[in-house]
């Protein structure tokens, strides 16, 4: 049985319920897999994909065929690296060479690794890593080069972190270090994907010349995850919040979780959100450079999930107590509405509104958050102006003719489907009311006696004439009178 809170959520958010049902039962994926043509190894790779990440698997498997295998393998290779880095039971003497040489392992058929702790959740992937290597060998050289290069850089970055000071609960010292860490684990993924997309012709080559954009794609996602995972990481005795930020609010990192520090913790949280929001407009800019719908969906879905999560986290004390997530229905709604850059921009705007609604002058970052939200809105305005050139020209023409200022304002018609549905219902209801009232006025009697219930005849006319005809006539008369102002 679902919890009462869940039922209540979907009663008040029918759109999400609808999206969830659609996503599950009514949706056609953009591209289908063809399992008959897949080798046994590739099938196993896809199984690993689904095991390691449900959310990523869905979008990867729907990629267009040219991109599907390279992206899936790229993802598994990085997962492999991550599984080694993550395992605290591995000795640095084993771990560091493994991380640094991982890119070479990709060209060693038959390589597997069973040294991970049994508790490591993706250990099986490395146990059977030879299937990944086999499929990697079949890729086009351009894709192989990219995956190898990124694996090399990421392995190097991870090794550096391992050699650094032991992980403690101070988090990373400076925002610079935080950005650097996020670059190695996520920014590089953005780089790799872009380098896969461009040769395949599914992204504008200009994206390669703007590292800031693809790095932001990764950093935005990573930072949202880091903020959200406060509690989870704390329980694993890890922290990634930069001291440069949390140090402004509390003396000790663990103090953030204490109830008496709630206001300080919220301020720290809004500072972290502010830092993440910095990447939002870059992400939209990047998405504008994608040329294939399936690739667009693949890139945009995680981004809208991230902005939705960020809106959920912002000034939310629950985050310090447990791991909070956006409701499944909301996630489905986001995936269903992904469409194109315009709808993605609308989604961003929607969540900017959510953030703004929670922003308060009590927060020391109040104005900065407001400015950042506005910056994203201004960026979107630059792509999709709300006042068109044509509107402006028409305004000037009219002014030249009439000599009076013409004001450009918003239209009074509602755009929201729900509002329109409500209005239709409301007016239908009023219409029925009106009919009854008219019937009453011209002399119909309402009879709710026991006999009436038996025969279901609640209305009677005093003078036995056809009530329906009478009502219709009087309504028609009233309407025509009003419309033609006969009474005036």
């Amino acid at each position: 049985m679902p919890k009462f809170a869940t039922i209540w959520h979907y009663t008040t958010h029918p759109y999400q319920l609808r999206a969830m049902l659609h996503w599950k039962y009514l949706r056609d994926p953009l591209h289908f897999r063809n399992p008959d043509k897949e080798s046994a190894e590739l099938k196993r790779c896809y199984e690993f994909l689904e095991m390691t990440s449900r959310s990523f698997a869905a979008v990867i498997l729907e990629l267009q065929p040219e991109m599907r295998v390279p992206v899936a393998l790229f993802y598994l290779v990085l997962r492999g690296l991550d599984t080694i880095e993550d395992d605290m039971t591995l000795n640095n003497d084993v771990k560091i060479p493994l991380l640094q040489n991982f890119y070479q392992i990709l060209d060693q058929p038959g390589w597997t690794f069973d040294g991970n702790a049994p508790t490591e959740k993706d250990r099986q992937l490395l146990v059977e890593f030879d299937v990944v290597i086999t499929e990697f060998g079949k890729l086009k050289d351009v894709y192989k080069d990219v995956i190898r290069d990124i694996a090399k850089q990421m392995g190097e970055g991870m090794a550096e972190t391992c050699r650094g000071p032991a992980k403690n609960l101070d988090g990373l010292p400076l925002i610079k270090d935080y950005d650097r860490y996020c670059f190695y684990v996520a920014g590089l993924v953005g780089e790799g994907l872009t380098r896969l997309f461009v040769p395949a012709g599914v992204a504008n080559p200009g994206l390669l010349t703007r590292p800031r954009l693809y790095i932001s794609m990764g950093l935005f996602l990573q930072k949202v995850n880091i903020i959200r995972d406060f509690r989870e990481d704390l329980e694993d005795s890890r922290s990634f919040y930069p001291k440069e930020i949390w140090g402004k609010y509390v003396d000790k990192y663990t103090d953030l979780g204490l109830p008496e520090n709630e206001e300080k913790a919220l301020a720290c949280q809004s500072d972290m959100v502010l830092n993440a929001l910095d990447h939002a407009d870059d992400c939209l800019y990047y998405l504008a450079g994608l040329r294939d719908q399936s690739v667009y969906n693949f890139c945009a879905i995680p981004q809208v999930m991230a902005i939705a999560t960020l809106a959920l986290l912002f000034r939310n004390p629950e985050m310090y107590k447990r791991n909070i997530k956006i409701p499944k229905g909301e996630a489905c709604e986001l995936m269903m509405d992904i469409g194109n850059l315009r709808t993605t921009c609308d989604t961003f705007k929607k969540y900017i509104k959510v953030i703004r609604a929670k922003n308060t002058p009590k927060d020391p970052n109040f104005l900065e958050v407001s400015v950042k939200c506005a910056k994203i809105e201004q960026f979107i305005e630059g792509i999709y102006p709300t006042i068109t050139k044509k509107q402006k020209e028409e305004k000037r023409e009219k002014e030249l003719k009439t000599g009076k200022t013409v004001y450009i304002g918003d239209s009074i018609l509602p755009k929201n489907t729900a509002t329109i549905l409500f209005l239709i219902t409301f007016f239908s209801f009023m219409f029925v009311n009106f009919i009854f009232l008219a019937a009453f006025v011209i002399g119909a009697e309402f009879d709710f006696s026991a006999e009436a219930w038996e025969t279901w005849t609640f209305f009677k006319m005093k003078n036995e004439t056809d009530i329906l005809q009478d009502v219709t006539e009087s309504v028609v008369e009233a309407v025509t009178k009003t419309l033609t102002h006969q009474e005036l």
Binding site: Q378, G382, I387, V406
Partner: protein
């Protein structure tokens, strides 16, 4: 701090040099171009700074003889013209000071062999009451000007820009929006009055409209950047042909300058008020249309009572409409990056106002 396309300024005349903006430009020049010989001219000399490179003179720009002699004596390669009367005066005075005054300044500069003239225009020159949404320099002047002030600024800007190329002189016009900072008598004090009148509970409109503001020191820097970019151009390529896209060159064109951080109007207000201990501002939201009706009544009532109305229809429309600009041209051509953020600028302003309030209290 000068980069490739900028030349250090060696001599500069700042007209309106004792004003809010002019004073800031003088201070900025002393800091960024320490070898620059500065003449600060104003109709009344107040708040003078003692410095070996700085000299103060009185000037009346509505008098051609007066401004001519000041320009001649200053022997400056750069003239920055910031003088303009405050809002709320009559049309006559605006036309006289802004339009005729600027004509006199231009004539004096051309005759005096000035190389670069920078004119302080206003973002209001494109305002006619309709919202200004992410507007850039391609936006034309409105067909019907909003009021006498903005109309006179638009004409004066045209005068300044048409002087580009005369006698080899290069001109540009900066269009700032919502200038504030320590010493500002209009913007921030207006918001502080609301706190003093305990009217912060009210919010007009849904607070979705973006507004641009400009911290005074950033604007001062932008003027100096414009001057040194044009100075460089004067000694290299000279006047740009008028057929070149106006977004690609500075001389003979206008340029919007703001803090580059548009913000929701009431958020800016709330950010000021929380410095005065008000954290729950805007708890009563009055829609724009309701606000207009009430303001109309208030205006009528005040007229009967012979008082200044607190709420006017202009204020309602003003605080509910977008008014922000695209300043990419300033960033690209001037290398302008606002050094003082909105938050920091506000902090400095409020600190100053509080100190001023204490002085007055004593």
């Amino acid at each position: 701090m000068t980069t490739a396309n900028q030349t250090p300024i060696t001599s500069c005349l700042v007209i309106g040099g004792c004003g809010f903006l002019g004073g800031a430009i003088v201070r900025s020049l002393l800091e960024k171009h320490p070898n620059c010989r500065i003449t600060a001219a104003d109709i009344r000399l107040t708040g003078q700074i003692a410095h070996k490179n700085l000299k103060y003179v009185t000037v009346d720009i509505t008098d051609l003889a007066s401004i001519s002699s000041v320009v001649e004596n200053a022997k400056a390669e750069v003239v920055i013209h910031t003088a303009s009367p405050v809002h709320g005066l009559g049309k006559e005075i605006y036309m006289k000071v802004n339009v005729d005054g600027t004509k006199n300044v231009v004539e004096a500069c051309v005759r005096g062999g000035v190389r670069v003239m920078v004119y302080t225009s206003s973002a209001g020159v494109v305002f006619d009451g309709s919202p200004l949404v992410n507007v850039d320099e391609t936006e034309p002047f409105p067909i019907i000007p909003y009021d006498a002030y903005n109309e006179s600024k638009a004409i004066a800007e045209t005068v300044a820009l048409e002087a580009n190329g005369k006698g080899g002189m290069l001109t540009t016009a900066l269009r700032p929006a919502g200038i504030f900072g320590p010493g500002d008598r209009q913007l921030v004090p207006g918001f502080i009055t609301v706190v003093k009148n305990k009217q912060t509970a009210w919010q007009l409109g849904d607070n979705t409209n973006l507004f641009d503001f400009t911290y005074i020191d950033n604007l001062a820097v932008a003027h100096i950047l414009a001057a040194s970019v044009l100075l460089h151009q004067h000694s290299t390529t000279g006047v740009t042909d008028a057929s070149v896209d106006q977004r690609k060159h500075l001389d003979g064109t206008s340029i919007f300058v703001t803090n580059g951080q548009p913000v929701y109007f009431w958020d800016f207000a709330k950010a000021i008020w929380c410095h005065y201990g008000v954290y729950n501002a805007g708890s009563i939201v009055l829609s724009r249309s309701a606000g207009l009706v009430i303001a109309g009544l208030a205006e009528g009532f005040s007229k009967l009572m012979g008082r200044e109305p607190g709420l006017t229809r202009f204020r309602v429309k003003f605080s509910c409409a977008h008014r922000y600009f695209d300043i990419r041209k300033a960033k690209d051509l001037l290398g302008y990056e606002p050094e003082v953020s909105l938050t920091e600028g506000l902090r400095r302003s409020i600190e100053w106002f509080k100190a001023e309030g204490e002085k007055e209290g004593k």
